[in-house]
């Protein structure tokens, strides 16, 4: 046996382990389970943004053919959890009291779900829903961020914890900006954006017994969902099962359990049949969160030769009147650049809107639009290359936490990215490069996101044929979690990937946190590693006990599998797995292992970094922008699944194109209703919008962050993309667009 075999192999590109299911249509999403006696619920939303329901006339709906029930606050069973005031059933989400669907007659936002019509078919339910007539007592609503900005408040998290990213923050001298030789100040606005995963939010709720609930639900956490609904219905957790084997995208909107889910569960209870509820595309804008419209103001002071002196960054984001949604919009301003003086002020504004929820790259992507645009503006004003400006202000340790970085290879990203985009073709003077009629521009933006890690548990079993089967409750909303875990297991054990299965998306499997915050590989990966090593230890012990002396002092790292053989490194000893299990009279071995963040987290600042370069064409007379190329460079630690990781970066860049150029949920504040609320009016990028996207990974492990060495990349894939494009548009045209999206009308 070749010694190199025992060096951890490089991670090779692997086809998705669930690819076949996805390309044949066999993958089942949450509205696709067949249950006997299925019924269908359709939600009716309020048509006012604030006030109370005066009356509901549901007679016509009740009489419509096939209707099983028309449920509202007037006749809904009251959930046990609704009675306890102030109790917060959905733990991991936002502070406050989540909307209690069908609880009372209060309206907090437009299109708030107020009635569920349940019928024997979808068509019947949809029709009957149009027959429900509601009278309201309307009150004056407020939905306009800018018009109400002075009412913004410091969120409770910031008040309570001075170290919170939402707290007021001052480093160095407060008046540093005023005294800076070069002063720059600007305001930036990011509009409301909506996750809009392709799969409409869906739930199939099934009471298998009076006190036993199963939900097939589009969520990013099966355990979160299990806990929340157990609490909501006052049931033991083991009586609630959440299945989310396949999730058709989510981008954050599955990090919260929403009113429509509870509505479906109530409906299923009341009609005593399974209930399938699929939101309409319009309801995706109003019922399952969004990226809140955010206003920002930045003051940036520098010396004439480009040393940052001060950054003052403030932001105001929307939230609802019942939950305090916060995000880390200003966090990177504190730690990205070596400015001795930094102040941040984060505020939220409660409006008559539904609660926002983290959307890919969350606040960091919002904040990066401000910060990275301002960096570009200052570089331009002192006639300095924007990459050089950033390198000049590079931080070698975290100036916010005052800790060394666990790892930071951002410099390599700058260098490689410049080469790949052809940065040498960029001219400092905007509008000076052309390709035919089109103006050509280059821009860049940096991103960072915490290398988060949660505890996670994996169960693994190995049979005598060498098949490794693992289970974990984690979900996969698209990044390829199963594929990545199979690769980690294969890399750790030597077992070929075809013989490894990773089952996920079920609350009955061992515990894992949410799939969010770029934490999956960093959290579940180490648990896979631990489980694989535990299996090896069991085998070593067994082998030693059966007199295989060579194994007596072996460590897990010395052992690898080759087909169904156990090989011992260095000693060229081997054993057949089947024989060993037979000697011990067992069919398989199994283990359950938890892996948790360790104390390194208190000693190091752990972050993933990204760098995006964009090349754009702008049509000078029609204002059309075409992104011609994006280069994504990521320092995300070990890349365990190169193929799916590259896809993540491409997907993030695509989302960034949407942020920069097309996405805008526009509200008519007279009514508090969105006017762009379907995929024809709310524009997400289509094939024709997306160019070649070139991905580069530094691919150096961060073993302080976690034993797999991964730092996560779902978020950094999008953070910094929008400003890179906006900066490129400036370079092409000399026009600085500070309110996204950059639509043609803004450039002519």
């Amino acid at each position: 046996m070749n010694e190199a075999f025992f060096d951890k192999k490089d991670y090779k590109p692997l086809d998705r382990v669930d690819g076949r299911l996805k390309v044949t249509g066999a993958a089942k999403y949450s509205a696709e389970y067949v249950l006997p006696n299925m019924s269908y619920a359709v939600l009716v939303g309020s048509t006012i943004a604030k006030g109370t329901i005066e009356s509901i006339d549901s007679k016509a709906a009740e009489r419509a053919p096939g209707v099983l029930a028309v449920i509202s606050h007037l006749n809904a069973i009251k959930l046990p959890s609704y009675q306890s005031k102030g109790e917060h059933p959905s733990e991991p989400s936002t502070k406050g009291q989540p909307l209690r669907v069908f609880f009372d007659n209060k309206i907090y936002s437009n299109d708030q779900p107020i009635v569920a019509v349940v019928a024997t078919s979808f068509e019947k339910a949809r029709h009957a829903a149009t027959l429900v007539k509601v009278q309201y007592n309307k009150e004056q609503h407020q939905t306009d961020l800018e018009a109400n900005a002075e009412k913004a408040v410091l969120p409770a998290s910031g008040k309570k914890n001075p170290k919170s990213p939402t707290a007021d923050y001052d480093r160095g001298q407060i008046d540093a900006f005023a005294n800076a030789p070069v002063k720059f100040e600007a305001e930036y606005v990011l509009p409301t954006e909506v996750h809009n995963p392709m799969e409409l939010q869906s739930i199939t709720a099934h009471w298998e017994a009076d006190d036993k609930l199963t939900v097939y639900d589009k969520v990013q956490g099966t355990k979160m969902t299990q806990k929340n609904f157990a609490k909501e219905w006052n049931l033991p957790e083991e009586n609630v099962k959440c299945i989310a084997t396949f999730v058709g995208g989510a981008f954050g909107n599955g990090l919260h359990n929403w009113p429509h889910e509870t509505a479906a569960i109530i409906a299923a209870k009341q009609v005593k049949r399974p209930v399938k509820l699929v939101l309409t595309r319009e309801q995706m804008f109003t019922m399952v969160g969004y990226r809140p419209r955010t206003w920002q103001k930045i003051q940036m002071g520098a010396t004439k030769d480009g040393k940052l002196v001060a950054i003052n960054h403030q932001s105001i984001g929307q939230t609802s009147t019942y939950e305090e949604f916060t995000e880390s919009t200003l966090q990177q301003t504190r730690m990205m650049y070596a400015s001795p003086n930094v102040s941040t002020r984060y505020r939220i504004l409660p409006l008559n809107l539904a609660t926002p929820i983290w959307m890919r790259g969350p606040g960091e992507a919002t904040g990066a639009f401000g910060l990275e645009s301002a960096m570009d503006e200052v570089a331009h004003s002192i006639d300095m290359d924007p990459v050089d400006f950033r390198l000049l202000n590079y931080t070698e340790s975290d100036p916010d936490k005052n800790m060394p970085w666990s790892t930071k290879y951002l410099r390599e990203c700058y260098d490689e990215g410049k080469k790949r985009i052809g940065w040498e073709n960029r001219k400092m003077q905007p509008g000076s490069v052309r390709d035919g009629e089109w103006l050509v521009g280059y821009g860049m933006g940096t991103g960072t996101f915490g290398a988060n890690r949660n505890s996670a548990t994996v169960h693994a079993e190995l049979d005598k044929e060498g098949n490794l089967v693992m289970h974990c409750a984690i979900t996969d909303i698209g990044p390829g979690t199963g594929t990545a875990m199979v690769q980690i297991a294969s890399n750790t054990t030597g077992i070929p990937t075809e013989k490894i299965a990773f089952h996920l998306g079920n609350s009955e499997f061992p515990n894992a946190g949410l799939q969010g915050g770029s934490s999956t590989v960093n959290s579940v990966g180490p648990a896979v590693l631990a489980a694989c090593n535990a299996l090896k230890e069991q085998l070593i012990t067994m082998a030693a006990a059966k007199g295989n002396a060579a194994f007596a002092s072996a460590k897990p790292d010395d052992v690898m599998f080759d087909k169904a053989e156990i090989q011992l490194g260095g000693k060229s000893a081997k054993l057949t797995l089947g024989d060993l299990l037979k000697q011990n009279n067992i069919e398989k071995i199994e283990t359950t292992n938890e892996s948790k963040p360790d104390e390194n987290r208190n000693k190091y600042s752990m972050n993933a970094f990204s760098m995006h370069f964009a090349k754009v064409h702008v049509h000078p007379f029609t204002g059309q922008v075409r992104v011609k190329k994006i280069v994504c460079c990521a320092d995300a630690g070990t890349i365990v699944s190169p193929k799916t990781a590259a896809s993540q970066m491409i997907g993030g860049a695509t989302g960034g194109i949407g942020m920069a150029l097309t996405e805008d949920a526009v509200m008519d504040h007279r009514f508090g209703r969105y006017v762009t609320k379907d995929l024809a009016d709310y524009h997400v990028p289509v094939h024709a919008d997306v160019p070649e996207i070139d991905v580069y990974f530094v691919n150096k492990p961060d073993l302080l962050a976690d034993p797999v060495g991964s730092k996560g990349l779902g978020e950094i894939a999008i953070i910094g993309v929008a400003p890179a494009i906006a900066n490129a548009v400036f370079n092409a045209t000399g026009k600085r667009i500070r309110e996204l999206p950059i639509t043609p009308d803004k450039l002519i």
Binding site: T47, E123, R126, H127, T130, G436, E437, F621, T622, G623, Q624, R626, L661, T662, V666, D668, R670, F671, R673, V675, T676, K677, A680, D681, H683, P685, V686, H687, A688, D689, T743, P744, D745, I748
Partner: protein
């Protein structure tokens, strides 16, 4: 969507009869607009007459004109050799609309009859005179970025969303329709109407009439024609502004021009004054700029669509430059 009566017609006559005695009966062709509107409860016909089996799909050349059956699919027209050769403007305009799948379903007649995409029209909780006469126009003082700058009324400022129709109006097409009393021809320019005091009426087709075909007279524009569409993303979006430009050139001089604009009015907006200004002039950017200025006379913007006053003429110039081969 209410339950409705469904009937298949195999002849024009049967189709027209199918509408008799029911003012709430509608034809269904591709369904790409009607089914959408029915799902969202914006329209609720009590009877649908499926006209897909009526043999009106042919594209023919005879007597100095090209005749396109009302049930010819948008994709079939766009890909048709005769059309590409004789009326490339139409092919380009069709391919600039919707998506490949929708064009595989959408018919010529349905495309003409498609309703506005005004978001107030699409939301039954908001006021809209077109959907509910007398309820008010939500867009007038609302978010009217996508709305008209020509021919608006106090009642409605919506635009007709079709791309195909912009090319057809430029090409002097006419529409053959049939009703209980027989056939009649409507010049394409008179097929759609301005909102005036009856925004609920999009066009001049009578309730019991059916579109049979569209006819395009032979022309000399095939060599120098261009459809230029500006939208919020690179494809699969309705026009902010679009322009159909066709030139009959004599060397570098324009003998004759055809110009129409989309995304700016309640009907496909023909620019006859600008056409006149182009005739006899050299095909230069200067000439095009002057024509564009003439074209924009009488335009009136609202709070959020003032950009169309600038984008409009720019797109006219770009379309003409492309048509003339200057790009």
């Amino acid at each position: 969507m209410i339950q409705f009566q469904y009937e298949r017609a195999t002849t024009t006559k049967a189709a027209i009869n199918g509408l008799a005695n029911n003012s709430n009966a509608r034809f269904i062709a591709g369904g790409t607009n009607l089914v959408d509107l029915m799902k969202r409860n914006i329209t609720a016909p009590t009877k649908l007459v499926d006209i897909n089996m009526v043999p009106l799909k042919d594209i023919q050349q005879q007597n100095g004109k090209t005749s396109i059956g009302a049930l010819a699919l948008n994709s079939a027209v766009a890909d048709n050799k005769l059309i590409i050769e004789k009326h490339p403007l139409l092919s380009q305009a069709l391919n600039a609309g919707a998506s490949a799948q929708i064009r595989n379903m959408a018919t010529v007649g349905g495309n003409m009859m498609q309703r506005t995409r005004c978001p107030y029209f699409y939301d039954t909780a908001l006021p809209c005179n077109k959907r509910e006469p007398g309820s008010g126009c939500g867009a007038l003082e609302g978010l009217n970025r996508m709305h008209a700058i020509f021919g608006t009324s106090e009642q409605c400022i919506a635009v007709h969303p079709s791309d195909m129709c912009i090319a057809l109006v430029a090409l002097d097409a006419s529409v053959l329709v049939a009703g209980p009393k027989g056939e009649r021809r409507i010049p394409f320019e008179e097929f759609h109407r301005l909102p005036g005091n009856q925004p609920e009426k999009d066009n001049t087709l009578q309730n019991n009439e059916m579109i049979i075909s569209v006819e395009i007279p032979d022309n000399a524009f095939a060599k120098n024609a261009h459809y230029f569409k500006v939208r919020d993303r690179a494809s699969y979006a309705f026009a902010l502004v679009s322009v159909a430009a066709a030139l009959n050139m004599d060397g570098k001089v324009i003998k004759e021009a055809r110009l129409a604009m989309g995304g700016v009015a309640h009907k496909p907006w023909r620019l006859k004054e600008a056409e006149k200004a182009l005739a006899g002039k050299p095909a230069t950017e200067e000439t095009f700029r002057q024509a564009a200025e003439i074209a924009m006379q009488g335009a009136k913007a609202f709070k959020y669509n003032a950009f169309k006053l600038k984008l409009g003429p720019n797109v006219i110039v770009e379309a003409l430059k492309n048509a003339a081969g200057l790009v």
